[in-house]
Symmetry: C2
Subunit: 190 residues, 2 copies
């Protein structure tokens, strides 16, 4: 892998996987095994590296949604597939969304462009139709989407805290996460 890509991937590793949102350029360089100046050579500044990582995170998030949510398959199968795809990514990058939130909340971050996800809008429409059909309980499709994402993401994101609060081992927690898919499906389609 070329160094530019290596730096980006390492930054994502630190931010999204390790949840180390305070990483300095030196720490990123060390983790990547490259000279810190290379970060400035390829990205000009720390801030531009962050912006690049941010943009790619949003893009990859959206392209993931695209990949599944446009599929013309049975709704129940689509949800099942979606949970598979999304939770696989969650386990790899549990803190990606947390990074995005932190950056959005950060002062110097002014992203003017619209980042609306067409795939999500399309999915919400489909959810509405399934509610009419009676496949799932009626309600606001957005709330259905909230429920779905919440049930997948939150236990993964909160792992370090819940492990402390409940004194649960790594293995036990991983087992609990692995069981989530079926639990979510039960919740949705009871």
């Amino acid at each position: 892998m070329n160094k530019e890509e290596l730096i980006k991937q390492t930054a994502k590793e630190l931010f999204f996987s390790k949840g180390y949102l305070h990483a300095t350029t030196q720490e990123i360089a060390d983790a990547a095994g490259v000279n810190r100046s290379l970060i400035n050579y390829y990205f000009r500044s720390r801030d531009l590296l962050f912006q690049t990582v941010y943009r790619e995170a949003v893009d990859s998030l959206k392209s993931q949604l695209d990949k599944v949510l446009y599929d013309k398959i049975d709704f129940q199968a689509k949800i099942s597939l979606f949970i598979d795809v999304y939770m696989k990514e969650l386990l790899k990058y549990p803190y990606r969304e947390s990074f995005l939130i932190t950056e959005i909340c950060s002062k110097n971050f002014a992203l003017k462009e619209k980042k609306k996800s067409a795939a999500l809008v399309h999915f919400l429409k489909e959810v509405g139709e399934e509610m009419d059909k009676g496949t799932i309980k009626k309600g606001d499709p957005i709330q259905f989407m909230f429920n779905l994402f919440a049930l997948m993401s939150f236990p993964v994101i909160m792992k370090p805290l819940y492990q402390k609060l409940l004194d649960i081992s790594q293995e036990k927690y991983n087992t609990l996460i692995a069981e989530r898919k079926q639990i979510i499906l039960d919740q949705i389609f009871n």
Copy 2:
């Protein structure tokens, strides 16, 4: 309010309410309207201020749980009350848990002591009993707890991102959040 308390409250405001996890001591001092040296006077170092805020966040989280989860009231009423209490706090401090996670993930943070929550353990036992009674669907009480916290917290935490992805206004989003309680109760007790 005395300055020491003011500094702590302001730090919590920045971290927990605004989600501004990168705040410097100068920014905290400015937001509090005090001289930055006061932070060193009262807390010795930036790190100790962070540790203090962290500890108080964990303690207040646990004491909140205590306040509700030990109540000897009907289970359904207890859940209803718990959602009220917890979501009220969530709206005030949406990023408190995110701050905790970020600090736990941060390298220099080695919290050795057990922070296990007796109230949660007690609650899990009660959930198990209610499952036996048939009030709620059978399963692992921890998973029930995961569902409950996820459904409350996640849509609140992800507000900035979901507003972008779905192009939703402040008012609309707030309305959606306000509707959450009933939706969660429906999910749980269908």
